[in-house]
Subunit: 403 residues, 2 copies
């Protein structure tokens, strides 16, 4: 059993402090661009990272640090510059950022993880970040989660921050989080960062397993396909301060997993609904598939279809595009068996029987959150994806992002 | 050796007539919506078709007809309605359209191929098409190719029509063509139709081989990925009227293949550059790949990246997005070895060495045709794709296409 905490964040978890400031990376907008998360106690850590062959320097460094460190205590993040495609200089800058943070916090370099997000291919303004680290350390606070969530934003329009309390057999643990959406609603270059804290006591292998499982059903099911950017990263830090241990194959394990899954889905949906230029959040349920994979590829194909996305933006009940996206997914489906509904309204029945009530459909499509269900009548498996619509603003935002 | 014919079309080929009229399928716009292509002599025919699991009724019927007919003489095409996802009624309507055309031309049903393009999921207005067929037959003319090209358009803004004369050892043959772009610039639901005529004498297996080869390097290399819509079809008709035979493994075979390849590339580029809302045609050359497949997946990944497309629309020299699209292609490339240029201007050298001259790059990016070259430094294979940019107009056009 878990419960969301109002205005919860990564610092809702016992022992975690955070802060967010403007240090000058975003030199034009003056928005905040440096975040620091710190745990008073050493944390076990697990991470998942982009599968893009082009990996940013801070990501490679953090991945290596997670792999070799028994514990970590801090995560420092800048926005405005991704430190990606920056070659050897980028590696050196990432190391310098890590070292500066360690020195300022008086901990070892291996206890610091770093992340960057923003423009690709430009040298990191290291001096600004170093000065920023000097300024941000004294500001660390148990109320700083929202400031940190603000400082990691790029084209996000909303702060993304959640926390839950999880009731376990021997007491309550907390899971807190902040994340940033790529802003990008298509399956590439979606720089997505998420930082999750918990005061549960968990071993590294169990933490890793829990994280992978949660990411699979959340961040990997939005059409901000998490595994293809240069900088994508999800980190989960557990400082054990609650004293409550989560062991594998316990009822508590399942409760914790459910809560972590929920918080990850909350973040993923927030990212999808805040896609650049997005006006709607669309949930895609694919049902009655032969295998989980089949359900997944169909849902993914729909979620990634720009024609489906633009139809939703236009509030057009274009079920034909949904059906065609299903047909071109690669799944071995029989289109004549498929049914489609919008929310609870049946639109298409098997044998291409069109039963749509256009007036009712228009009302549903005018909403800001819509669920479409595609029933393949091919088995018992299902999958859920989330996407946003595609508006002119997506193009406007992305046509000149670099400059 | 081949040469393009000025204002050439499908009727530039000896023995081919065509016509195009408005019959009422496009009831609002009054634009022409019915095309007929007819050969006085029986034609050997080859076809390639969408791989989408959702296949339109006319496509299934034409595919079956091509497979079983020794010869065909006519292709009738309507635009404005795709007769896709229309179930049994759609099959009956397609058959009725084929039969009506055969009756009007006084030939057998198996000598008629049909195609439809337009909105999905709406019943074909068969009476309008039948009346139209009555009207169009008397209009067939050796000068009617452009009218036919006009009548198959949907959101296309330009007529797409080409013909070449090919000098062979024993004389000259002609290849003529018309096509319509999907208008859609993304790899799904791109309804792409192309009809190619020739007066060369070719056996069915050789014709089929020639067509597959040409399509592979043209229509399948644009980000209107030809194989994923419900209605995509390329038909090649050879009536033998030149009396010149093309046999396998002759020098003439290669000359003909080269000319057919060129005309298919011309059509593919015309489709890409006329993508909905497109302002630029971008050629993507991927060089020095380990395998042809590697070059292909990288070029495809770049061509399908909405972020790359929007950057070109914004005339932004965003090489980082090109590199990231390369990295997320699935190809096993080393990003540190990659070079990128825009036209002849080097932008990125290995080890992320940025050498871009922003002033020169801006001049190149302002052009309406741009070539980007990505050198993987991984081998000797290459691939070329074509794409257009992504503008706000794409969204406007597609947000309300159905209604």
């Amino acid at each position: 059993m878990y419960q969301y905490i109002k205005n919860g964040s990564v610092t809702s978890t016992k022992g975690f402090k955070a802060a967010g400031i403007h240090c000058g990376v975003k030199d034009k907008s003056k928005k905040s661009d440096l975040a620091l998360i710190y745990s008073s106690e050493p944390c076990i850590v697990a991470g998942t990272y982009t599968l893009n062959k082009v990996k940013a320097a801070p990501l490679l460094l953090s991945k290596a640090t997670v792999a070799k460190s028994k514990f970590v205590k801090a995560v420092v993040v800048n926005s405005g510059n991704a430190n990606a495609c920056t070659g050897k200089q980028g590696d050196l800058d990432a190391l310098a950022m890590q070292k500066k943070c360690a020195d300022s916090l008086n901990i070892t370099q291996n206890e610091v993880l770093i992340a960057s997000t923003g423009v690709i291919g430009q040298k990191l303004p290291l001096d600004k970040i170093k000065n920023g680290i000097d300024k941000i350390v004294p500001l660390l606070s148990a109320k700083g989660g929202i400031d940190a969530a603000t400082a990691i934003m790029t084209t996000d329009t909303k702060i993304k921050s959640y926390a839950v309390k999880v009731k376990l057999s021997s007491g309550t643990v907390t899971i807190g989080s902040i994340c940033k959406g790529s802003g990008m609603i298509m399956p590439n270059m979606a720089t997505m960062l998420a930082f999750i804290s918990t005061d549960a006591k968990i071993t590294k292998p169990v933490l890793h397993e829990l994280l992978l499982d949660s990411v699979k059903n959340s961040f990997n099911k939005i059409s901000v396909d998490g595994d293809t950017s240069t900088n994508d990263m999800v980190l989960l830090l557990a400082n054990g301060l609650s004293g409550i241990a989560i062991n594998k194959k316990s009822a508590d394990y399942n409760s914790f997993k459910e809560a972590l899954g929920s918080i990850c889905i909350s973040m993923a949906k927030a990212i999808a609904s805040d896609g650049e230029g997005a006006t709607k959040l669309i949930t895609i349920n694919v049902k009655s598939a032969k295998t989980e994979k089949e359900a997944d590829v169909v849902a993914k194909s729909i979620a990634n279809s720009p024609l489906v996305k633009t139809a939703f933006y236009g509030e057009d009940a274009n079920w034909g595009r949904i059906l065609s996206a299903t047909g071109q997914s690669g799944a071995n489906v029989n289109p004549a068996k498929i049914s489609i509904s919008f929310d609870k309204l049946p639109v298409l029945l098997p044998d291409y029987k069109l039963v749509i009530n256009e007036v009712k459909a228009a009302k549903i499509l005018a909403k800001s959150e819509i669920t479409i269900t595609v029933d393949l009548a091919n088995g018992k498996k299902e999958a859920t994806w989330w996407m946003c619509d595609l508006s002119e603003d997506y193009v406007k935002i992305n046509a000149n992002y670099r400059t």
